[in-house]
Symmetry: C2
Subunit: 150 residues, 2 copies
DNA sequence: TATTGTTATACTCTATAACTATA
DNA sequence: TATAGTTATAGAGTATAACAATA
């Protein structure tokens, strides 16, 4: 038996959450690759929601990336017509970021495929636990990101 | 509001789990540093349970590390008298790994401190959700590591 | 002078390949 | 010849520092 099975000592949360996260990311990879997206590219598309963002720095912070890291990602997505990056007329240092219709379509398709895979995993939880798990996960996520739980 | 708050689209599991894992690890750091442990050092101590392991390669696999990655870690822990690493008399290529009493003490102390912090976080969940969350997390972890759920 | 975006550089972490010793 | 452990090297990913444009 391994330490997780339960010999009185519960495993560290981090020792459960981190490997689970790695596995989820690994499961995403083939789906992303099919659509020619890297993880960072998908993160950008996912975060660039309906309304545009005003600076690249803000976007970088939102997805926990360095501002220099996402530049090549934005270059790629822009060149593929998935997002627009135009100088803000109000402040021409900043770049207004927004998804193109194709970008939105791709994001939705990939998200659906990713979540479809995740649903299969979640489906193995007892229905009773499942909702509580998702709710708790969201709560802990919010707290961990410094946002107060409701 | 952000995408997590709930505008009909649930966030990807990975987008919740991975950042949560990062935050949990970050929260562990100060505790580990206090005891002069790196994350890998703690992973080794945590996994080296009561009974010894027969090879370093097995240990490396168990903690999802490359066999070459843990060598410096083992060197350090051994030099500090926290673990024993002696050639297996049966097959002198292999190294039998076991914790010393001090190693076990340190592991227990650090684990207690780490889990104490985690309990504070878990304490912010409704009691009703909390057990379901832990149970689900362990189940999903096991599945993600290729072990069949019960 | 401060800020946005960018480029070039350096650094950290990790895996690969090559070596020693045992079998 | 195959395997366990080790060392040295190369590679990927990341952040830091320096720069150009704009305010």
């Amino acid at each position: 038996m391994n330490a997780v099975a339960g010999d009185g000592v519960r495993p560290d949360l981090a020792a459960l959450v981190v490997p689970l996260g790695r596995a989820l990311m690994a499961a995403e990879q083939p789906v992303l690759a099919e659509h020619g997206l890297t993880m960072w590219g998908y993160a950008v598309l996912s975060h660039l929601d309906e309304r545009p963002l005003r600076t690249q720095t803000a976007l970088a912070e939102a997805i926990h990336a360095d501002k220099t890291r996402i530049i090549a990602v934005l270059d790629d997505l822009e060149s593929r017509g998935l997002l627009n990056r135009r100088p803000d007329p109000q402040d021409r240092r900043a770049r207004l970021l927004s998804l193109t219709p194709e970008g939105r379509r791709l994001r939705d398709a990939v998200r659906a495929a990713v979540q479809n895979g995740e649903e299969r995993l979640l489906g193995r939880l007892p229905v009773a636990d499942r909702e509580a798990f998702l709710r708790s996960l969201i709560t802990l996520y919010e707290i961990s990101q410094g946002r107060p739980a409701r």
